[in-house]
């Protein structure tokens, strides 16, 4: 059973990415605060994957042939939730209950226990690439051609476990594994370049045996091209997409402002953010 998804236009993807940021703002307004910056830097990446590239069936979230997506930077979960909602995995009504009460199905970090379409409970940074590697190994053993995508933050890749998985993906020749680093340049305590310098990232990943591309993480055409699934058995190198992004992208007063990594939002700020996202500032 192949699920075909109406091919999106780039303009349609841009609209969906805008909707994603609006949904996220609503979730954070319901909760009173949230990781705005981390969500908005990866909203375009997630939108392109869910609405143009990944093979999915919302009616059958555990469909064995679906492409896998591990949202390793789990603190930005609302971006994933919006994609799952707009793609039809769970209802829009769940937005209003985000983090509002004990038992809310949408919480700060993605959880398989409560959310259909989530491939792993994530939030402890540095887990996703190892788990994704296991799924990619399983695909080989099962002779399935799904692709496993793992989205990480640029602060997250300070974690040693990421590099354990980096070694192993090359060892096992996992051409069915695609890593993405959302390089928004900021983490909790400051600029990632100061907290722990990781550049040159392209050289680092390449030296670990990955095929590496560096793109503008807000350029939808570039994302469409770089993230397109490749299903040929002959692929023997894991792929890494270094996506340069802007933390808080889409709302000017949040862009590149460290405090918006995780902050409370006032009703006035919420209104201003929505107006800007809706294109009526």
């Amino acid at each position: 059973m192949a699920v075909t998804f109406a091919p999106f236009t780039v303009a349609g993807l841009a609209d969906m990415a805008r909707q994603n940021r609006i949904d996220t703002a609503h979730m954070f307004m319901a909760a009173g605060n949230g990781h705005f910056g981390s969500c908005y830097s990866c909203a375009d990446i997630v939108t392109v994957l869910y609405f143009a590239l990944m093979r999915l069936d919302p009616a059958n979230p555990d469909w064995p042939d679906r492409d896998r997506f591990l949202f390793s930077k789990g603190h930005a979960a609302p971006t994933l939730y919006s994609a799952l909602i707009r793609r039809g995995f769970f209802p829009e009504a769940w937005i209003a209950e985000y983090e509002t009460h004990v038992g809310s199905r949408l919480m700060t970090h993605p959880s398989r226990r409560y959310q259909p379409g989530v491939d792993a409970s994530l939030g402890a940074l540095g887990h996703g690439l190892s788990i994704g590697l296991g799924m990619a190994l399983a695909a080989r053993l099962d002779r399935r051609d799904y692709v496993t995508y793992v989205l990480m933050g640029d602060g997250e890749i300070n974690e040693g476990s990421v590099w354990e998985a980096a070694m192993a993906a090359a060892k096992f020749g996992l051409g069915n594994l695609v890593g993405i680093v959302d390089c928004n340049g900021l983490s909790v305590d400051g600029r990632t370049a100061d907290v722990m310098p990781m550049e040159p990232l392209v050289d680092k990943w390449r030296s670990f045996g990955w095929d590496v591309q560096r793109i503008d993480g807000h350029d939808l055409d570039a994302l469409l091209s770089a993230l397109a699934p490749r299903r040929a058995d002959a692929l023997t190198r894991p792929r890494m997409i270094i996506a340069d992004t802007i933390k808080g992208k889409g709302v000017r007063f949040m862009e590149n402002v460290r405090s918006w990594h995780s902050d409370a939002i006032t009703p006035a700020q919420f209104a201003a953010a929505l107006a800007e996202l809706a294109g009526t500032p």
Binding site: I131, M135, A138, S161
Partner: protein, 325 residues
């Protein structure tokens, strides 16, 4: 007796002349995998010292060498389990408990994934010092919700626990004895079942409630105590979690005897404390004593010497029980 040196780090725990079985875990797993296509084996460069090399030789297409990377090992096992495979992952207990704990807790246990973590060198079964002595693993893994924790006594326990772990849908931590493993429990009625205690012998004066290799020691001690007309029994709990509370309650309901909890683990947070807490909550007012390793970083050295020094050799157990009576 020949002098044992520290180099005997992976020495057998068997006494001279004791019946042993080679690599019970490895052979059992390899056999299981003959009929179960979902079983895969993964290790962090310790296949040889966890007996997983036997599985690897039998099923090379389902064996994954992950290198010295325990976080990766557990994360990748979670990913494979998520896709329907049943990974048996091996390393030393210290590395699973201390280094990979976050991955076991979050990636494996929270999603109740079907990963079996089999770890060698549990408690004080190596003379290599604190870097390799997992005197804390049970305390750590007891605190993981939904994780079944098994501390087998001998080769029989290991063989049966390996099969039982494969039959259980959920994560398991199995303390592994590898190499030439003593075979003791064949001489007793019953067999291993997850969550079930076995009363190996009853006793009117003393009852050992023990897990792991301390059950073997308790049996030896009970035999020796009988020569001094001390009637000692042994209740063996190979499953530390979930604890067989009914069996413990029955054992405690018999008045007048000394209860001795015994384990190959530090006295803090392990099996003994679990049983003691259980007894306290049940209102047990009788005498209870605890045998286990001290709350300390242990020395390196030959195992028999260390077992004497830290109070888990048969001789020291006998002496302590006599002193308590």
């Amino acid at each position: 007796m020949t002098t044992l040196r520290t180099g005997a780090m992976i020495a057998s725990l068997a006494d001279e002349g004791q019946r042993v079985t080679a690599a019970p875990f490895g052979h059992t797993l390899a056999r299981l995998a003959d009929t179960r296509a979902d079983i895969v084996g993964m290790t962090a460069d310790l296949g040889k010292y966890t007996d997983l090399h036997i599985f690897a030789q039998a099923h090379p297409d389902r064996f994954y060498q992950m290198g010295m990377a325990e976080q990766l090992l557990m994360g990748a096992a979670a990913g494979m389990a998520r896709e329907g495979f049943m990974p048996f992952v091996t390393t030393y207990a210290v590395f699973a408990a201390r280094r990979a704990y976050d991955f076991i807790y979050m990636a494996i246990a929270e999603d109740r994934l079907n990963v079996k973590i089999a770890c060698a060198l549990p408690g004080l079964t190596t003379g290599y010092g604190p870097s390799h002595q997992a005197t804390d693993d049970i305390a750590i893994f007891r605190s993981v919700p939904g994780l079944t924790v098994i501390d087998p006594c001998d080769a029989t326990d290991i063989e049966q626990a390996t099969v039982a772990a494969a039959d259980l849908d959920g994560p398991v931590y199995l303390r592994l004895l590898r190499g030439q493993v003593p075979r003791v429990l064949d001489d007793y009625d019953g067999g291993f079942a997850i969550g079930k205690a076995r009363l190996l012998r009853d006793g009117a004066d003393v009852l050992f409630i023990s897990s792991g290799i301390l059950t073997m020691r308790a049996l030896q001690a009970a035999t020796a105590l009988a020569a001094d007309r001390i009637d000692a029994g042994v209740l063996h709990l190979a499953t530390v979690k979930p604890l067989d509370s009914a069996a413990i309650a029955t054992a405690l309901s018999r008045p007048g005897r000394l209860i001795v909890v015994a384990e190959n683990h530090a006295v803090t947070g392990g099996f003994g404390e679990a049983v003691l807490a259980h007894a306290a909550l049940q209102g047990h007012g009788g005498r209870m004593r605890q045998i286990g390793l001290p709350d300390a970083f242990l020395d390196a050295g030959a195992l028999p010497t260390l077992h004497d020094r830290y109070g888990i050799s048969t001789t020291t157990i006998i002496g302590r029980v006599k002193a308590w009576l």
